[in-house]
Amino acid sequence: MAGQSGTGTSATRRLGVLVILMLAALALCGLWFSAEDVVQGSTVRMMYIHVPSIWTAYIAFGLTGLCSAIYLSGKNRSLAWDRVAGASGEIGVLFVAVSLVTGSMWGRLTWGTYWVWDARLTSTAFLFITYVGYLAVRQLGGTHRQRARRSSVLALLAILEIPLVHFSVTLWRSLHQDASVANPNAKVELDGLMLFSLFLGLVAFTLLFVWLVLHRQRTMMLEDAFSDRGLDVAITARRNEAGA
């Protein structure tokens, strides 16, 4: 039905179907089949959605930084890199916002409050604000190249800033439970199906991210093309106005 009328291709449509199937499977595994945790009980089910969200946000911001670096270092400075950086940053903000909300809901159940001043939560909040600022700078106007250069430099500054903020917040306060999978002493003991659900979530969200970036950077390409075309129209108008 979509034909060639949108930002989709047969590849993205196949990817989209795959993502939907995987998310459905994730919902079944995470909410139904998998067992409850010995300590955390049913609340462990929030992990299957919360951890993939924040994972996706990290991938997204990483991609933003990478594409910004490529844009600035490339000889021809293709705006395509800037658009991928921008699309990825926008999606990263979405996922970090979602994971802040689900994280604080999870916190309400495990810690009894929506917000605790622990290191990871606090530096995630800073991550969110930093990239909201990045998106605001992208909206400042000017030519595409001005936008691209400003925002690429800012994205690289953010890459520098985030470890520093995280490190200082960690020094400031560290009471949070350790990362579940990486630390063998963690409170959560994952059995086979629980681990499978978590990894299914990570894969599904990563593919979802790829699908979103593909579409978003194509819409951005169209937005840029339209403002360029607006430029062509305006040039003709100015020339006519001169002749009149």
């Binding site: 106007g141 030519t143 403002s227 607006g230 430029l231 305006a234 040039i235 100015r238 106005e241 001169a242």
Partner: protein, 211 residues
């Protein structure tokens, strides 16, 4: 004669607005060229492009033999643009302004006094804050800073604006003497008659294109 500015088919944008829609321009050393046209015709943008301040989207151009598309930053130290703003620090005195510019290009004390003499800035005026100067005095102070900076091409945007008749005549005389000592001047004006006597050549610009 040697060509100092050479533009062909230059398009430049302000935001999404095409301030220049395909401009051709050629200026020789030692000329006083008047860009003439109504307000909003693109005169200011043309001067900013020549100064290497505004990027060109399409077309090609060279200033003092330097390519505008690839190396516009290199042009900047050799031209002086005086726009609607004079580029002065309002909380500094005239002398402090000129000394600041002098220290950025390592100009000597005697070069500063020479510039002040050319622009007829005396000791009393030198001690006045820029915020307390008249429009003509600010213009003279800004032109003096161009001399201190050793600019080879002077790009002046509406230099006569805000000056009274005596101030305009004085400015014309100052510009002629600057040209005779080696500068090239391109000035923009929408007042046709005012600058005609000064210019050695006139270029009409309208709708973002030069005719």
């Amino acid at each position: 004669m040697d060509t100092v500015i050479e533009l062909s088919g230059v398009v430049a944008v302000l935001g999404q607005f095409p301030a220049l829609a395909g401009v051709d321009l050629s200026v020789q050393r030692g000329e006083i060229v008047l860009l003439q046209g109504p307000k909003g015709a693109g005169k200011t943008s043309l001067l900013r492009v020549c100064a290497g301040l505004m990027p060109i989207e399409r077309g090609s151009g060279h200033v003092l033999g330097i390519d505008l598309a690839t190396n516009r930053e290199a042009i900047r130290s050799r031209v002086g643009l005086l726009g609607h703003a004079n580029g002065l620090y309002l909380d500094l005195t005239v002398m402090q302004n000129l000394q600041f510019w002098a220290s950025t290009v390592a100009a000597t004390e005697s070069e500063v006094s020479a510039a002040m003499a050319t622009m007829r800035i005396d000791g009393r005026l030198a001690g006045v804050r820029a915020s307390q100067l008249s429009a003509g005095q600010r213009r003279r102070c800004a032109l003096a800073s161009l001399i201190v900076r050793r600019a080879e091409i002077w790009l002046l945007d509406e230099p006569h604006a805000g000056l009274d008749a005596a101030g305009r005549d004085e400015l014309d005389a100052l510009l002629r003497s600057a040209v005779s000592s080696g500068a090239t001047v391109v000035l923009a004006s929408h007042e046709r008659d005012r600058a005609l006597g000064l210019a050695t050549r006139t270029v009409t610009i309208d709708g973002g294109g030069a005719a």
